[in-house]
């Protein structure tokens, strides 16, 4: 029995830590939950991608679109590229670091889940709470970095506004605000989930449940970083 459980736990941990693995019907119910949650995430991200694809294609189209100048009766191009504040690169760095801390948090949660799994099966009567030893608060750190990123975006917006570029000033500024705001809203969702997962730690929820939540949030977070890099490239290439 112990061997089967431990194998199952190791399998589950393999799934967690390695990010892949196909649980068979002997593995923990937990692996199945994780697989289902990841599948759900992939589907959800497909929906999110369509939103950004729509905005991006609207951006490309608008950039190249001439419009009728009634005075001359001819078609003119009126696209004025936006000068992107350099602080945006600093902000990007913050997000990249946050994706690293997020990954570390994900692996940490996975290890905790595995530890709980093994300790539970090995000793039936002792406490099942994870070790309280030195734990780097990777999760909290990621949340803080995420919030810093959002604050940084806000500062970039302030800088643009100070130079006279608002949402309605011209098409390129409209798209800038649109793309950054949409990305920011999605990132905020991720941050809120991180805060909830952090709080769950203190309420001693099952380490496995937390591990699933943190795993999903981590992949979501990585995707948000990847998306941000794409948006930046799209905006930069406009020059």
């Amino acid at each position: 029995m112990d061997l089967i459980t431990t194998t199952a736990a190791v399998d589950a941990a393999g799934v967690l830590l390695g990010g892949h693995g196909s649980p068979d019907h002997l593995s923990a119910d937990f692996s199945a939950r994780l697989r289902r949650a990841r599948l759900g995430l992939i589907v959800a991200l497909t929906g999110v991608v369509m939103i950004f694809v729509s905005f991006s294609s609207a951006y490309v189209v608008r950039k190249g679109l001439p419009t009728l100048d009634p005075q001359s009766g001819t078609l003119v191009h009126d696209w004025l590229p936006l000068q992107l504040p350099s602080f945006l690169l600093v902000n990007t760095l913050v997000l990249l670091v946050s994706t690293l801390t997020m990954e570390l948090a994900r692996r940490q949660a996975a290890r905790e889940a595995l530890a709980t799994e093994i300790s539970r099966s090995a000793v039936a009567t002792t406490s099942t709470s994870p070790k309280e030893a030195q734990r780097m608060p990777w999760l909290a750190l990621t949340a803080v970095l995420g919030l810093s990123f959002l604050a940084g975006q806000w500062l970039v917006w302030r800088e643009l506004a100070a130079s006279g570029f608002y949402v309605s000033t011209n098409p390129s500024s409209s798209f800038f605000y649109l793309l950054t705001a949409t990305h920011g809203i999605h990132l905020l969702g991720g941050i809120l989930t991180l805060i909830a997962a952090s709080a769950a730690y203190f309420w001693r929820r099952l380490a496995e449940s937390r591990a699933v939540v943190v795993d999903i949030t981590a992949w979501y977070w990585h995707f948000m970083t990847f998306l941000w890099v794409n948006i930046l490239c799209l905006l930069e290439v406009a020059h």
């Binding site: 029995m1 199952a8 599948l39 929906g47 729509s54 189209v61 419009t67």
Partner: protein, 581 residues
Amino acid sequence: MATGEFAAHAAHAHAAPTSWIRKYVFSLDHKVIGIQYYFLALTAVFVGMILSLLMRIHLIWPTATLPFLGEIKPETYLSLLTMHGTIMVFFVLTTAPQGGFGNYFLPIQIGAPDMAFPVLNMLSFWVTALAFIVMIAAFFVVGGAPLHGWTGYPPLSALQSAGPGEGLGADLWVISIALFCLGALMSALNFITTTLDMRAKGMTMMRMPLTCWSWFITAILGLLAFGVLLSAGILLLLDRNAGTSFYVPLVTINGQLAGHKGGSPLLWQHLFWFFGHPEVYIAILPAMGLCSQLLSVFSRKPIFGYKAMVYAMLSIGFLGFMVWGHHMFMSGMSPYTAFAFSVMTMAIGVPSAIKTFNWLGTIWRGRLRFTSPMLFALGFVSLFVSGGISGPFLAQPVLDIQLHDTYFVVGHFHLIMGVASIFGIFAATYYWFPKMFGRMMNESLARWHFFISLIGTYAIFMPMHYLGMAGHLRRYSQLTELNYLHGLVPLQTFMTYAAFVTIAGQFIFLFNLFWSMKFGKKASDNPWEATTIEWTTTTPPPHDNFGGHMPVVNNGPYEYSVPGAPRDYVMQTDPPLAKAH
């Protein structure tokens, strides 16, 4: 043992709720959520139907004074048609077949205890319900409901002063649609994950009933399309309220400069129809899946060409994303692009034709039982043919020159969406009512409902093709201004009277529905002698659908009249047939 703890945890998550609020309002049970969606759609369809009744009355008696409403002004007529279209397309056709019946029966038909994410499922319903409330609110704000049509083309929909109702009413319309998109995306997530990850042992993809395939493909379409509509709506809200110019070029409105420049009205059309075309397949695919199911059950024959039916639905879904430009042949789009879209559009007619041939092949040499679901399934085939045949006319740009924006188009999409798809909802109701409510609906009332609806809707919508050919334009609130329309008034009058009768007939259904819930004949677990898994459960099914005994599937979904078998149907969970399937 660790897994035991998980199982216990999982079981706790699935334990039946006891409080009234958790049981009926914020339920996580897909069956309750399905019923909630169904009743939302039922409310919406009656609102939509009343709106269309008012439209029909106004068209032939433009100066009539109605109780409560007074005289219907041209702008009111346009608001009626805008809200009619929006409510019907979103809150009826995209809600009842998928959110209603799909939610209830997908998990059961694949042998799962619930949807993959029950909390998300509950949220998706409540977001959709909120969207409906916001939509209805548009009627009651200053200016009233918008008049820009369900297609909402800017600049008309982007300029607050372009007409009555284009103020707050139009903002609420956009917000409602945006909320609906969110609800639909959440729902699509659940359907796809559930279908891929929660099928019972032995339920391979190719053993799934065609209803499950249709819900699955519809969910994929929704996942890819609703995000685009959401984006389009956000851009529209920004143009309306934040001074941006995504869609609006330099224009004047009521003699004043509107304050926009450089935008493209065609951008909206591309985004909207990229969503809009898959949307019409979202509206019809579940009905197609159900039609296949019912024709098989009530002909006591396997579906003709199961694999072909699956591939046909997959092709329809896939090609559905490549034809949106056929709504834009006259829009100012390049004629070369129009040609490309028209070839794709003709191509998409092929899988639809294949399905029709296969339906006919299913009833050929069958033993037909004319139950109420079967009547509506047969009616569906007839209506699908009629509505589909006008497609190839519109798909050819050269003919679309004459027919675009006329009643020909209105007749086309009403026969397919407004009748065939609705017949699918009726068929589903009569078919699954026994499983959902434990009683049978009244067959005599059902037959009256069927014949009044079939004949009535043909009487309303077939003449629209004649009107269109004669040049009668759509979205005209009156026929008084153009000389060539005067001769078409008698036909419009006929259609209005047909509408009165048809609408009256729907109250027979409504009465039957509610009366049968209390007084209908008690139903057995499998009153139709059908083979799919939902008929193996009790009526109504228990909280986890199977009372703890998850099904194991050995057979395909359409094993009827198997030579040598003891009965003329073999359940999917029965011991395997000698011939592996």
